[in-house]
Symmetry: C2
Subunit: 460 residues, 2 copies
């Protein structure tokens, strides 16, 4: 190594990527198209543009353009909190006494506390450019809602967030951060929408669900002039925007002649993992390099490792299109799990295809194992990680320990998606020995898989 | 300007300061010595070293050494979260439509959420080097306790934190962050100390106070073999460690040929302000440059602007030595104010001397004005500021607006000490219009000033 590698590698602002990378362009087997649930027909841009704004509908269906220019306004916004540091985990390496070199890309140095802001600003920008008044969305734990509020505030766009009522009440801090950024936050179910009123009538006093909040946000978007609906994960457009994570990581590693052997990311809907691996996967698809790529999911919501590859609804409420993905079934209700961002029944259609084609691996871990890794990491690296991110930390530590045993000097890269400041109830349960691991039974998965939608000529 | 100034200036790791700067060395009028309250005699290193560890006792009394080497172990720890970015507030400038150039040094990019970590690691390091088992401290809102927990965890030192009981109960998140870093957090008053038991007997059910927590922490330090007490602000040693803030800021500005006209910092005990201004004040003291330096304090706790320059106890419990400072009286109880870090009756003895000698100005602002500035800043610069830091933002905005009116292109530098993630109840009160400004009456100040300690030959 000619240059000494610093603890943190920051690209210069003029080195930041000017284009997003669309991995779909280099996939031999393209991701399966979104289908209209009623007709079973593939959706076109015009079908999507009533819900999404025009440019995003195009990006959602673009399987061919490899590089897409990042508009200057988005680059300017990125400069507020990017480039994100690529950190050499010297302290963790020392603590683990491993010959492995560990790097992590830290996306938590912004007020939303995660990588979600990378796509929020893109989606808000295209909505603004189309002359819309505002956007609607749902949020569970609140990271996506916060990110979108920040982006809309910056652009002067109205932001309506439907927040799962139980989170709205239990996480007042997140709600207040969104209000600080001028968002209109409504506990869901609400009496603002037809679907909300219906659910309230049927289930008085309900704490709501993400599925219900999605339904309300979509209804709010299509029933108001000048509004569209936006979503923070799962979609291919989101993965495109998140490619900034991987592009910056690769540029930073290239500067020091480093090449990862193993790339690890947590996987919920797939936005972070897809973004982190994008340029590396591109090289792998083009046969230019090889990488071992590992998705880590919670044992209580294991769509890759125990799900089925089939067409399913993207949402619990079954109002969205059908997407072919690894799924536990859209009626699957994951057990209480503090990694709220990973509690999704399905997986990005792009990542699902790549996994089906053998380009990546997946593994699942139990909650207490995750928090053990989180605490170890916090104590030696100083950063308090989000439970979601800690899935990647767990497997990075495990791989580094294997290196200690075999003596191999592997280079490990993982994605540290965010911080855990708003997850302290979970840490408290862990400290007090009250955190439980839910043993997901085969029959539970079978029951929701049995309810997969039947679409003529698609699912059996 | 030959080089374009980026949004964020990060020094390279090898450019980071290798020495702290001790502004006392260049003061003509040295800060007044700490006095023993019983005898009125100036304290020496041997008097302090029963409470503080040896090296820190020396630093506390060293008025002569201008530059003190930062031990390599501390530099390595600093690399985990430093250099902190110097941010050019392009978005704020545009929003304010001002010809002023605004810079801020952001110290919130670490898990403790503030600059406190800069001194916590130094104090923990010297305790470890002296072969101590652990340290004790008090914490109110929890930022200092968190910083110390992180530092102790890294060095393998026991950390005992006495946390004001009402905060312990109302701020469970902060408490859990400290526990994540292995600290032993005790709600104060507790039955672990004599003074705690006495207070509990006299005031059953009390929520505690910072004064009481200090008393417990000091007792715990002196009554356990191998323990010392540490403090996060006010002390001259803390200001020395915090000089890293100003040194990095100056290096970053120098790289781009920039020179601030106005330097602004919030002032509670003075650790952040003293650290930010240190090298600039040094130039001013040596007659090499001139800067306008402004301390900003809350209207509800205005030690500089409405206090008296006199000897007073550093703590409410009157067990600590006497220090000459601008004070509202150690019996002064500030009204509820969400900027917990600025609720201190006195001020650093170093800054007090500099203020008395006319080297800096001070101003105070009301709470609602502070939160207006905080929200404006969050929306355009993306960072959610701590209420404490927002005092500096308020005055920076005011000065930039003056520049808009006069057309002057002044360069403004302010200290953004930390983030507000754990202050959302205060933001909520602000959003809901429930935040009140307390009008501090002259007779309240007079009443606590009347109780200043009478020391023969010192205070009248």
């Amino acid at each position: 190594m000619s240059k000494e590698i610093p603890y943190k590698i920051y690209l210069k602002e003029d080195e930041m990527p000017k284009q997003w990378y669309n991995v779909r362009a280099h996939m031999k087997n393209k991701p399966a198209p979104l289908l209209d649930a009623a007709t079973g027909k593939a959706l076109k841009v015009e079908d999507l543009s009533g819900v999404f704004c025009e440019e995003l509908a195009k990006q959602e269906l673009d399987n061919d353009t490899a590089y897409i220019d990042i508009p200057q306004e988005i680059i300017d916004f990125y400069k507020m909190y990017r480039p994100a540091p690529l950190v050499r985990a010297y302290c963790l390496e020392k603590y683990l006494d491993t010959p492995a070199k560990i790097y992590y890309k830290f996306e938590g140095n912004n007020t939303s506390g995660s990588h979600k802001l990378n796509s929020a600003i893109a989606q808000a920008y295209y909505a603004k450019k189309q002359g819309l008044k505002g956007v609607t969305t749902e949020t569970g734990a609140g990271q996506w809602g916060t990110a979108l509020s920040m982006a809309c505030s910056y652009l002067g766009l109205d932001c309506q967030v439907y927040m799962v009522k139980v989170s709205y009440e239990q996480k007042p801090f997140r709600r207040e951060v969104m209000r600080t950024y001028g968002a209109n936050v409504t506990p869901s179910p609400s009496d603002k929408t037809q679907v909300g009123r219906k659910i309230l009538a049927e289930h008085p006093g309900t704490g709501g669900s993400l599925g219900c909040a999605i339904s309300e946000a979509v209804e709010a978007a299509v029933s108001q002039e000048g509004y569209r609906y936006v979503l923070g994960s799962v979609l291919s457009q989101v993965m495109l925007h998140q490619s900034i994570i991987g592009l910056e990581s690769k540029l930073a590693l290239d500067k020091y002649g480093e090449k990862p052997d193993i790339i690890i990311g947590c996987a919920g809907g797939g936005s972070n993992l897809g973004g982190l691996i994008a340029p590396f996967m591109g090289e792998k698809l083009r046969g230019e390099a090889d990488y071992r790529i590992i998705a880590v999911e919670p044992a209580s919501c294991p769509s890759f490792t125990r799900g089925t590859y089939a067409y399913d609804f993207c949402d619990t409420g079954a109002i969205c299109p059908l997407s072919k993905m690894y799924t536990l079934g859209s009626s699957f209700m994951p057990a209480p799990n503090h990694a709220g961002g990973l509690r999704y029944h399905g997986m990005s259609t792009v990542l699902s295809q790549l996994y089906a084609d053998g380009y990546m691996e997946a593994t699942s871990r139990k909650q207490t194992e995750i928090f053990e890794a989180a605490e170890q990491f916090a104590r030696v690296e100083g950063i308090l990680p989000a439970p979601e991110s800690s899935h990647a930390i767990r497997v990075a530590i495990d791989e580094a320990v294997k290196c200690r045993e075999t003596g191999e000097e592997k280079t490990i890269l993982f994605g540290l998606t965010g911080t855990g400041y708003f997850d302290m109830y979970a840490y408290e349960a862990f400290h007090d020995g009250k955190m439980e691991n839910y043993e997901l039974k085969e029959e539970e998965i079978a029951a929701s898989i049995a309810k997969l939608p039947k679409v003529p000529g698609v699912n059996a």
